[in-house]
């Protein structure tokens, strides 16, 4: 049986478990074995899902249908921009960034003013959101205690205030447990990740309970919902609200980065950039899972409590309770508690860090009080300030809840916060990618955007709560119609969030860009702009240290570190730094620019970059580097890099070019050698017949008394050698034409069988004379090929005359010609029973002037160019020519001519 003290005990136990997880995380971090894995990191991002998700999504789904999904689509899209987030993380690590205020301030010259402004915007924007968490926990308690038998008196105190107090205590113990005030809290991240699991399981549990316990699965539930006409509309996508959807997606995409708690877990607490790769899919998956049952629970609740006026925001509790499932309700309560505490812890830690570093510290540093206490250890003071800030933030949240909490549904409050932090987007993104952006521009943009947000969203919400008159909403400020707060300049037809987003972003970006372009940054700003925008190029410290010049004393800087970090941690960091510079003892370190840079970085981790800058400059005598000088140094560094990159690129290009030249040269040399060989061979081939012709003609010429028979014989030789010469010259020219591509081709449909038949007829006499048997197997009705008929004939004749040349004569020689076809090509084979070719010869016979075998007797017939020419011709038609043979087994010459494709 449930009772009040049981619930309190259960909550206390759960919080005890969280502490154990956090302690474990911290202990492991101290031991140097971080438990922050990629999964833990991704789960910690789910601190995004607050009680607003846990309770509010259902409430929103009961009125807006599927539009609750927009709040989860935005973050998914944002996470896809991995490059942007990685750059943010890289910058934050390089600059020891402690918060989003620190990030923006650091970019614009470590400006305390900017840091303060961002902090104020964040506090004003986030307080309603914290109020929301208080409301959710209080509402869930109400639901549990409203049940008969559970009445417990909370000692006369408002339960919401009690919740706020518990959360404050909890957060103080959690986030400011450590005395060393550094920017990271691994224990907290571990606990938040743990809470993410609890709330997910709790929500899925109630979803399954409703869907499968109270109804008969999804299809049953949706079918029954569709039967209610007022519910059916929730299941449809409403095109008229597309603008609202877009605004919601944009807002939530920005919120996943710019909400102080999101910036804390995603950027500040990131231990390894590669974790982001896991988060990119795991976090959207988490969002998907936690949203699966939103609509079923909403519809289930509406149907179950039809007409009873139950609060949809607490359906997740009331539905199980209505079925008597008390332990499930308790589990859901713990899930909701997880969602709320996770958000409150991280958000207040982030905000308290900002308040401490960017509002309180600058004020303290200016006051004389601090200077008198100069010797003391201030790390305790820092923690104290943060604890007070935590209490104040929660108190403010409580006040806001009491004042305005009933004016809006839960989701409405959350979106006001989203719109506030969206104002950081131009200054932050601009700062990461646009070097010309200046501090003045960032200030102007933030102020303009914030003012519009205040006027169009926050103040109207006050007006609704009855705090202030709503005249400016109804009739415009001073009664001026176009100043109506939620219809500025006559812009109507948008919901209030879209309206605010449109005008505030217009004002913000406009002011940011215009003012940035019309102002000049100072030296510090220009330096920071360079480091932020080109963070990937500034891998080394060198340029950072070079931007500082002056005199410092080691002792004063060490004192500074001890005061703000505490002596123990300061010495630990100093020792580590000394080791990194190859020194055994930090006492011997020179107080040079690099040391100053180190000290400032350490301080920035504790008190933010703006305050750290102020403290360091107070104990050192710095020379002012003018803007010109800083730009020169940066420019020099950039130029040197640019030059070396250019040189590298040129060298690479040269190497490539050299390689190409060498290759080309090699090719040329090879071609030259081939040309030489060719000419030498041609010369030989031409001189050989000429030798006989000359010798015989000279003898005929000198000896008129030569016998007639000799005379006739000699003249016969001369004639045949002349023919050989002519043939040779023709073939060389033919070859040259083919090789140079200047040959003329008459392409037409050619029947290959017919060509073969004609060639056989033409050579019939030759075969007959030599007594060689020629037979054929020619397929009929072959599809025509695209080829030059005369050239094809030339190939066939060449193959046939080669065959007749090599087969034995006297009735023993046989040559067989075949023509066949498949789908792709026509195939011609010329097989002989000659001496055959060795494997080596099968290759070389297609080279110029390389004849096969000992062709002694028939040598005058061959020029050694027939096969190379034939191959050129066949390849021109897209076919292939080759020989299959073995010594003693005859030779088969085969060529193919492709058939036109089906599309031709």
């Amino acid at each position: 049986m449930l009772s009040g003290w049981f619930i309190v005990l259960l909550s206390a136990t759960y919080i005890g478990v969280l502490f154990a997880v956090a302690r474990f995380g911290d202990a492991r971090a101290d031991a140097g074995r971080s438990i922050i894995s990629a999964n833990v990191y991704a789960l910690s991002l789910a601190v995004y899902c607050t009680s607003w998700t846990f309770f509010g999504s259902v409430g929103r789904a009961t009125s807006g249908g599927l539009s609750f999904l927009t709040i989860y689509l935005g973050p998914t899209l944002m996470l896809l921009c991995v490059g942007v987030i990685v750059k943010m993380i890289r910058i934050a690590k390089a600059q020891r960034i402690t918060s989003i205020a620190d990030f923006i301030a650091s970019r614009y010259g470590k400006s305390q003013l900017l840091a303060g402004l961002v902090t104020v915007i964040a506090v004003i924007g986030i307080v309603p959101y914290i109020a929301l968490q208080l409301k959710a926990v209080a509402a869930s308690l109400d639901v549990l205690f409203d049940q008969p038998g559970h009445a417990i008196h909370l000692w006369g105190i408002d339960s919401t205030l009690l919740v706020a107090a518990v959360l404050a205590l909890f957060t103080i113990l959690f986030g400011t447990r450590h005395l060393d005030a550094t920017e990271r809290h691994e224990g907290m991240v571990a606990a938040v990740a743990f809470e993410s699991v609890v709330k997910l399981v709790a929500f899925i549990a109630v979803g399954v309970f409703v869907t499968y316990g109270m109804f008969d699965g999804f299809s049953d539930l949706f079918r029954r919902a569709a039967a209610h006409p007022e519910l059916a509309g929730l299941l449809e996508l409403d095109a008229s609200r597309a603008g609202t959807w877009a605004a919601m997606i944009l807002l939530s995409a920005l919120a996943i980065v710019f909400l102080p708690r999101q910036f804390q877990v995603m950027v500040v607490e990131n231990v390894d950039e590669s974790h982001l790769k896991r988060a990119v899919w795991l976090f959207p998956l988490y969002l998907l899972l936690i949203n699966i049952f939103v609509l079923p629970v909403a519809l289930g609740g509406l149907m179950h409590f039809s007409g009873q006026g139950a609060n949809p925001d607490t359906f997740v509790l009331t539905l199980p309770l209505s079925q008597g499932a008390e332990s499930l309700a308790l589990f859901v309560f713990i899930g909701g508690l997880s969602a709320a505490t996770g958000m409150v812890i991280v958000e207040t830690i982030a905000l308290s860090t900002m308040i401490c570093n960017d509002l309180v510290m600058p004020a303290l540093l200016r006051s004389t009080w601090l200077k008198m206490e100069k010797r003391g250890d201030l790390s305790g003071l820092l923690i104290g300030i943060r604890r007070v800030a935590i209490v104040l933030i929660l108190l403010l949240g409580y006040v806001y809840f009491k004042a305005a909490g009933e004016a809006y549904a839960l989701v409405g409050i959350g979106l006001i916060s989203f719109a506030a932090v969206a104002q950081f987007a131009p200054a932050l993104f601009g700062g990461m990618y646009w070097k010309q952006a200046t501090r003045a521009g960032a200030l102007a943009g933030l102020l303009a955007g914030f003012s519009v947000w205040l006027y169009t969203l926050l103040l109207p919400s006050f007006a609704r709560s009855g705090w202030i008159g709503n005249g400016f909403v109804e009739h415009g400020l001073f009664g001026i119609e176009w100043l109506r707060a939620q219809a500025l300049f006559g812009l109507t037809g948008l919901d209030e969030i879209s309206h605010c987003l449109w005008w505030s972003m217009l004002a913000n970006i406009g002011a940011y860009v215009v003012v940035s372009l019309s102002t000049v940054p100072d030296a510090l700003e220009a330096g920071q702009a360079e480091r932020f925008v080109d963070v990937f190029r500034h891998a080394q410290r060198a340029p950072d240290a070079r931007l500082w010049r002056g005199n410092a004393s080691l002792k004063e800087l060490v004192d500074l570190l001890e005061r703000f970090l505490g002596p123990a941690r300061a010495r630990q960091q100093l020792a580590a730094y000394a080791r990194s510079r190859g020194q055994r003892d930090w006492h011997g370190l020179p107080p040079d620019a690099e040391f100053v840079h180190f000290a400032e970085g350490e301080l920035a981790g504790a008190i933010g970059s703006a305050s750290a800058r102020a403290m360091v400059s107070s104990v050192t005598r710095e020379e002012d580097l003018g803007l010109e000088e800083v730009l020169d140094i940066l420019d020099e560094a950039t130029q040197v890099r640019a030059y070396s990159r250019e040189l590298e690129a040129k060298q690479q290009a040269l190497e490539v070019a050299t390689g190409e030249l060498r290759e080309a040269n090699e090719r040329l040399r090879e071609l030259d050698r081939m040309k030489d060989d060719f000419i030498s061979t041609v010369t030989h081939e031409l001189r050989t017949p000429l030798t006989s012709i000359r010798a015989l003609s000279e003898m005929l010429h000198e000896d008129p008394k030569l016998e007639l028979e000799e005379r006739r014989r000699f003249l016969g030789i001369i004639v045949s050698e002349t023919e050989r010469l002519t043939r040779l010259i023709n073939q060389i020219l033919d070859m040259a034409k083919l090789e140079s591509g200047r040959a003329e081709w008459t392409t037409a449909d050619v029947d290959v069988s017919e060509v073969v038949r004609e060639s056989m007829n033409a050579l019939e006499q030759l075969f007959h004379e030599k007594g060689v048997h020629l037979d054929s197997d020619l397929a009929d009705r072959l599809p025509p090929v695209q080829a030059d008929r005369d050239r094809l004939t030339q190939v066939v004749v060449n193959l046939l005359s080669n065959a007749v040349k090599f087969v034995p004569g006297g009735g023993k020689g046989r040559v067989r010609v075949g023509v066949s076809a498949d789908e792709k090509a026509v195939r011609v084979t010329v097989a002989d029973n000659g001496p055959g070719l060795t494997a080596e010869e099968c290759g070389v016979i297609f080279e110029k002037f390389r004849q096969g075998g000992n062709t002694m007797t028939d040598k005058p017939q061959g020029t050694g160019l027939g096969l190379p020419i034939s191959r050129q011709i066949v390849e021109y038609f897209g076919g292939k020519l080759w020989v299959e043979s073995a010594p003693g087994a005859g030779a088969t010459f085969i060529f193919t001519v492709p058939l036109p494709g089906p599309e031709a």
Binding site: H684, E685, R687, L690, S692, A695, E698, M699, S720, K859
Partner: protein
Amino acid sequence: MSKKILIVDDEPNIVISLEFLMKKEGFEVAVATDGDEALAKVAEFNPDLLLLDVMMPKKSGFEVCEALRADPDRAGLLIVMLTAKGRDTEVAKGLAIGADAYVTKPFSTKELVVKVKDMLGLA
């Protein structure tokens, strides 16, 4: 006793013309149509002078020349290389491996006869 000349060439028509030319000048002539046959004929026919073509199947003229020059019994054998490849490198190569003369195809019959006679001391 007439001098003996061995003609080595794989081109039948060149063999015909050389054979006719040398016989007409009164030499005793034998013919070989490749390198291996040439070496066999040298042993069998014992010529005084060799008209040796360079580009031949089986064994090139250069190889035949080298083989003969390696044989001390054939020290007195005169070798005239005949080639259709007129490149200087080949002329130099032929002379380097011991040819006595180098004649480029196509040659003048008159000059060849003069050269052969001169070499055989018949001029």
